[in-house]
Symmetry: C2
């Protein structure tokens, strides 16, 4: 039997991400309070992001552009250049934000790397994700890192082919049902869902009641080793 490959999502699986976006959104909400109540602004921002996804893809730069667009919309053109500058600065702060690993991440990965082939599969902005991976100090634990523009079943099929992996020997670990779990089950891989404290509106999906021999939900990355033992027991 070949060594199983365990692939990890990065944002909100290995390190905090969505909470940073949420804090930034809140700050912008407070900044733009003279023009719109925060809930209305937030709804418009999510709508704008959804509309722009086809052009911008994922990541902080697209988020910042969508925030500026929403600010102009909700203020009906009254937002000032200085306020837009603050939105720009908030976007830059997000880009430069240090990596905060989730609990037990480093020790779990170090331990798993002794038994399994570890891979990172993350979507988003190539440049920003590369610099975060470098900042995380985790890069050496992975034999391969794939930064992709979208995570659907085609993406996983291509990765399995590229690395000559058998879906039976492939497990994806991540926080997003839509990106990390459902498409992996679709290509006959296995998946471990570790929910993060919040989920971005555009990532929400239902997992239903999957077969426990192929899919599990855990509280923490520290429990992954146990499940892998069950998945790969001889």
């Amino acid at each position: 039997m070949s060594i199983p490959t365990i692939a990890f999502d990065a944002d909100d699986t290995l390190w905090h991400n969505e909470t940073l976006f949420a804090v930034t959104s809140q700050q912008i909400g407070a900044l733009l309070a003279p023009y719109a109540d925060p809930e209305n602004l937030h709804r418009r921002l999510v709508e704008t992001e959804r509309r722009n996804l086809r052009l911008f893809g994922y990541g902080v730069k697209g988020f910042t552009l969508s925030m500026i667009e929403s600010a102009i919309e909700v203020s009906e053109g009254r937002v000032s250049a200085r306020e837009i500058q603050e939105i720009l600065e908030a976007g830059k702060k997000l880009l430069a934000h240090p990596i905060e690993l989730l609990p037990q991440v480093r020790e779990s990965l170090e331990s798993l790397a002794k038994t399994y082939n570890l891979m990172m599969i993350t979507k988003g902005d190539l440049f920003h994700q590369e610099s975060r991976i470098a900042m995380s100090g985790l890069a050496d634990l992975f034999t391969a890192v794939e930064i992709v523009s979208e995570k659907n079943s085609d993406t996983y099929r291509k990765i399995l082919r590229r690395y000559h992996l058998d879906a039976q020997d492939f497990v994806m670990v991540g926080n997003s049902v839509k990106s990390d779990i459902l498409p992996v089950l679709e290509v006959s891989g296995r998946a471990i869902h570790i929910p993060y404290e919040i989920t971005w509106e555009l990532e929400v999906a239902e997992l239903g009641d999957p077969d426990p021999s192929r899919c599990r939900r855990l509280q923490s990355i520290g429990q992954v080793a146990e499940v892998l033992k069950e998945f790969f027991q001889p």
Copy 2:
């Protein structure tokens, strides 16, 4: 002998790119003429882009954010939300702009693909480059496509290793001396420089007088086949 690999840059080598940025810059210059003369604005934009490169990387989204930042700067905060909206729209138009292939690109690649292993190596925004490659209709001519965040000698070294290529059998074709030529010569590959009508300020570099057995400058992609014959004559 293994089949030589000929790698092509994309922007301004296979399709028009920098001219579109230049036209957009001009339009924004006209829009902001009440606040700054176009030359001053342009200088500030290049400075802003250079400063932000470390955070934004390459691509239209970063360019658009830098344009907004420059507009606020040169107008000393007087630029209106409607004017910023026009900058946003200009950025979106760039992202959605159809691909215009350079002359002789399709027929040259189709012909070269019969003899050589063709690869595309392009830097920039992952999401945007993927959609442009799909739109170009050229994807099937390449056995591999690499979208990278930066093109330096390390990047080329990694690609050679990843595809098990010998530098002696590798030729890079591109318009940027800084990104496509110098780093490839540095890792002992060969390079063909095909200048584009304009060069982005941040890509300007001197080629000097390289050894013609390892580096050539051509007018058009239509001449590449001839040079490759000389490079790989038995």
